[in-house]
């Protein structure tokens, strides 16, 4: 029976949330008036607005409950559940289903805004002062966001796309609904297999938390402009700006790690527009934090703070527009499908861009500035340069990522444009981003030293000597070791890379020296230094893992085109025959067959041991499943396969020099909608990762060509040659039970026993012959390792002669790509260090922002004293 109630509740709640957001915006706007209203009226407007915002909050929570209920209860009468979920999906991936679709991800974003709004309403006395104008911005944003999932049609105009649409309304032409309007599909079409990964449960919420958190500093900035409190907003907004930056930063890096682990482009960053769209606002936001901090100390850079805070929020909206409007078209592999919301998204972007920029221009003259000139020996000066570098780096990515937008825009005004993204994106972005990294390395070092020292030449010289010496010492050591003594897998001899290496090292040592000097004063102040070390480590990790990424699966066979295109060819993939050793770089590699995941067995299980049943998710054990003498399942047991669509290819590596061996299981699945989805398996060493993935397999949908059937008539103990292997016929036995085939009285099952001597080991084949209801049934045995299929054809009881049929085929193979990524761990460690630094800074800035002015003054004096 279909349940329309839950959807109606959900849809109604969306409408309530939308209306409540309108009411709250208006009421907060009325409460924010600075002229022509008495305090009483303002207060009553504020109370009313607060009620409206809480109604909005409650409605949003109901919407989320309704949508999750639809997914959790497998209510496939709803399109959202049907297209994003399926019966076999575990609960934690149902959470991912929730935000796989565009509507759900909007909902997630809305949820975080609501939550942050409630937090702002209930914490900090300072926030109360700001409540009306800040929450007016919040409610206004919520108005736009809830409209995206409204799903209302007025005339010809569709407003929003509802997640609560029923199947029969989504595809009314489907014959099923003509026969029975209450038809409900049995199963959903499932979650995109690439998203069935634990990182995808947690990455989107954190990223969207970052998205949502950028609204807080923006709302404070707008409130400051609006109410004429030009400088005061910085203090409460600063911890939030940190919070937004760290959430976005962690979100981005989680996405990068997911890509590294799940996709197979061979890295963590692909300069895909979807990635760039978050990277750009992050850079600008980090720039904004710097100018805000400078303002807090010396009243410099207020205008810059306004510009950057506003820009970071507008860029978030722009990135939403880019990824969701379908404008990227061919340029991106993983943007959302176009829901026809581009007009609405553009309105959202334009409304806030116009509002913010107009307000800024209108108030520009009134924003206070200081006339004091900044000398080169102040931290602030270097902070501004740093912010400028960050913004320029963001600007480069923005100009390039927007190429599809220029095409659309020119097309819109009638000029045909055929510009495409650069053919070599990595080269294009790197040639600027690398130098931005160098500049950031130098600036974090110098800027931080200046910031914490007295502002004069000699004191700075004292401060910089130690880190500089350590840098030169350590850098020369690494360069010599890598070039002369081959300590690493690469030679650090590229001058550009050396520059980045040295500057990043300098940033690490300079910031370390600051932490050391703060240790015996006030450690809580060192958040900035810690975060900067994190960034420098990330730069080092990126430098080594990407700059010296090395493909080791060079192919030496197959030289068909090499004479014609000698410089063109990167033979990056190698073909591995099953059970045949192949030399690859310093390893001997060998492919050993296809494995599956079995519930309650700690390792993957070879497909040959599994008798697959009609139900994809169960199999019967054909032999005992044991690992290290522990038997997990006995022959004939029914096994549960949690992920039957994923095949794991066992690839063993042996280091020729050290003799060290290890086994990797790169994964692949042939998806009917998406082709071969291959995910790597990664072996981590202290100095590098070995990254291995399958790049092609024989098409599993194509029937294997088994060649001609050859018959052999044998008696017990005969020896024959099969496909170049010696095979011994041990005899036959009558068996009572056949897994998966019920036998009645009068049915006979006979099993032949053959031993085949392979190159590496013996194989036992047990082809079955079953006489059931007067019919013969053949259950051949396939030995994939040898490419042999043995069918038990006939028994002649009189002469004790047995007939078997043998087909041979090409052996199984995979095509493999493997590469080494030196020191990629430093990137992940750097990310964690950076996050810790940010969290330290949030705690500190929060204490500062929450306490009253009277209290902070001495504290700030103390800080200055330490600085001096």
């Amino acid at each position: 029976m279909i349940n329309t109630l839950i959807g109606d509740i959900g849809h109604l709640s969306v409408i309530i949330a939308f209306v409540a957001a309108i009411v709250a915006s208006y009421a907060y706007f009325m409460a924010s008036r600075t002229t022509g209203a008495d305090a009483n009226s303002l207060n009553s407007w504020k109370r009313f607005a607060r009620v409206a915002f809480y109604v909005h909050t409650a409605a949003v929570l109901v919407v989320i409950f309704a949508l999750f209920n639809i997914i959790y209860e497998h209510r496939y009468e709803y399109y959202y559940a049907w297209s994003h979920s399926s019966n076999h999906l575990p609960v934690h991936f149902m959470i991912s289903c929730f935000w796989e679709g565009q509507e759900g991800s909007f909902l997630l974003w809305i949820f975080w805004h609501v939550l942050l709004g409630v937090v702002l309403l209930n914490t900090g006395k300072k926030n109360k002062e700001w409540e009306a104008p800040v929450m007016a911005m919040f409610s206004f944003v919520q108005l736009f966001l809830t409209s995206m999932i409204l799903g209302i049609v007025i005339g010809d105009m569709k407003i929003g796309s509802s997640p609560f649409i029923l199947m029969r309304d989504f595809m009314p032409e489907a014959p099923a609904f003509a026969l029975d309007p209450n038809f409900k599909p049995e199963d959903g079409t499932g979650l995109n297999p690439l998203l069935q990964n634990y990182w995808m449960v947690i990455h989107p919420p954190i990223l969207f938390l970052g998205f949502a958190a950028t609204l807080v500093p923006f709302a404070f900035a707008m409130a400051g402009l609006w109410q004429g409190k030009f400088g005061e907003w910085i203090r409460p907004a600063l911890p939030w700006a940190h919070f937004a930056a760290v959430s976005l930063g962690i979100g981005i890096m989680m996405g990068a790690y997911w890509a590294y682990e799940t996709l197979n482009f061979g890295g963590y960053w692909n300069w895909d527009p979807v990635e760039n769209a978050v990277y750009i606002p992050w850079l600008v936001l980090v720039g904004a934090i710097h100018t805000m901090i400078a303002y807090r100390r010396s009243k410099h850079g207020l205008r810059a703070s306004y510009i950057l805070v506003i820009a970071s929020f507008i860029l978030i909206l722009y990135s939403t527009f880019l990824t969701r409007s379908g404008i990227l078209g061919n340029a991106s592999v993983h943007s959302f499908t176009d829901l026809g919301l581009s007009g609405q998204l553009f309105t959202y972007l334009a409304a806030f861009a116009v509002l913010a920029i107009a307000l800024l221009i209108f108030r520009w003259k009134k924003i206070p500035t200081t006339e004091k000139e900044l000398t080169t020996y102040t931290g602030e000066f270097w902070i501004f340069i740093g912010a400028a570098v960050l913004c320029l780096a963001g600007f480069q990515v923005l100009t390039t990522t927007s190429i599809p937008v220029y095409n659309s825009f020119l097309g819109f005004i009638g000029i045909e444009s055929n510009a495409a993204l650069p053919a070599d994106q990595i080269e294009h972005y790197t040639k600027f981003q690398l130098w931005a990294g160098v500049a950031i390395g130098i600036l974090t070092g110098i800027g931080q030293l200046m910031w914490w020292r007295k502002a004069d030449k000699s004191s700075f010289k004292d401060a910089i000597t130690m880190p500089l010496m350590l840098t030169l010492l350590f850098a020369s050591l690494v360069i010599i070791l890598s070039n002369r003594f081959d300590v690493f897998d690469f030679k650090l001899d590229n001058p550009v890379y050396i520059t980045l290496f040295v500057t990043s090292l300098f940033a690490v040592f300079a910031n370390l020296s600051i932490i050391l000097s703060l240790l015996h004063k006030k450690v809580s102040l060192s958040g900035g230094a810690v975060a900067h070390i994190g960034i420098a480590l990330m730069l080092l990790g990126i430098l080594f893992s990407s700059g010296y990424s090395n493909i080791i699966s060079d192919n030496t066979s197959g030289l068909l085109y090499s004479r014609e295109f000698p410089d063109e060819i990167n033979r990056d993939n190698v073909l591995l025959w099953r059970n045949t050793d192949t030399d690859m770089d310093k390893y001997v590699v060998s492919y050993h067959g296809q494995f599956l995941e079995v519930a309650n067995v700690p390792e993957y299980v070879n497909k040959e041991v599994l008798f697959r049943t009609r139900d994809e998710y169960t199999a019967i054990a054909r032999a005992d499943i044991k690992i290290d003498d522990k038997v997990y399942f006995k022959t004939g047991d029914t096994l549960e396969l949690p992920n039957p669509e994923n095949t794991y290819y066992e690839v063993s590596y042996k280091n020729r020099k050290s003799g060290e061996t290890f086994v990797l299981y790169p994964r692949a699945q042939v998806n009917p909608n998406m082709g071969l989805l291959a995910s790597p398996d990664i072996k981590s060493f202290a100095t590098k990762d070995l990254y291995t993935h399958v790049s092609s397999i024989p098409d599993p949908n194509e029937e294997k060509d088994w060649g001609e059937l050859k018959e052999h008539t044998l008696t017990m103990g005969d020896t024959i040659i099969l496909n170049d292997y010696i095979a011994i016929f041990n005899g036959v036995e009558v068996i009572k039970e056949v897994p998966g085939v019920p036998l009645k009285a009068g049915d006979v099952a006979v099993q032949a026993d053959m031993k085949i001597l392979g190159e590496k080991k013996e194989y036992h084949a047990h082809p079955l012959l079953i006489f059931k209801d007067g019919m013969a049934g053949y259950y051949p045995e396939i030995i994939e390792d040898l490419g042999i299929r043995i069918t038990f054809l006939n028994v002649d009881p009189a002469s004790e002669q047995f007939t078997i049929g043998v087909n041979t085929s090409q052996k199984d193979y995979i095509i493999l790509k493997a590469m080494e990524k030196p020191f990629v761990n430093i990137l992940w460690i750097g990310t964690i260090v950076m996050s810790i630094g940010f969290i330290m800074a949030i705690t500190r800035r929060n204490q500062e922002g929450g306490s009253k002015k009277v209290n902070t003054k001495p504290a700030r004096k103390a800080e200055k004293a330490q600085v001096a």
């Binding site: 599909p185 061919n330 900044l374 501004f384 320029l392 993204l421 192919n555 085109y561 063109e568 790049s695």
Partner: protein
């Protein structure tokens, strides 16, 4: 004030450099005719070409060659661009698995000695949603 001005000018100069380099690096969508012209002029610029696979009346793909047993890193096919010009394309990588099902193919690369050497292939497959609808109707009618 002077210092601020110098920095301002430097920022603007870098911004202009960025725009110029983006304009310089940006590739273009072209037809094979133009790609051939470019190569004849000695240009090494890589371009984007949008096309479809060559198919016979039954919808079988023609001219596609991939034999991993001979060379797993060589895949070659015939692409028909929007001007219906047929061009052999080679790609020094394994064949993308869902290649046959693609409706539209975007390749990046350049012409070399009568063949187009692609270093990137982007497939546009029929929309996930259309596919789902078909599946739905067949299961529903059962």
């Amino acid at each position: 004030m002077k210092k601020t001005h110098i920095i301002g000018i430097a920022i603007i100069a870098i911004a202009i450099m960025i725009i110029m380099s983006t304009a310089g690096d940006a590739s273009t969508y072209v037809s094979f005719d133009e790609a051939i012209e470019l190569a004849e002029d000695g240009s090494e610029t890589k371009v984007h070409v949008v096309g479809r696979l060559k198919k016979d009346e039954q919808g079988h793909i023609l001219g596609m060659e991939y034999d991993p047993l001979v060379d797993p890193n060589l895949f070659s096919f015939v692409l028909v661009d929007t001007n219906r010009y047929e061009q052999r394309v080679i790609y020094f990588n394994p064949k993308p698995q869902d290649f046959e099902r693609s409706e539209q193919v975007v390749i990046t690369g350049s012409m070399k000695n009568d063949v187009f050497v692609a270093d990137k292939i982007l497939l546009k497959c029929p929309s996930k949603y259309v596919e789902k609808e078909i599946q739905q109707t067949t299961t529903a009618s059962m």
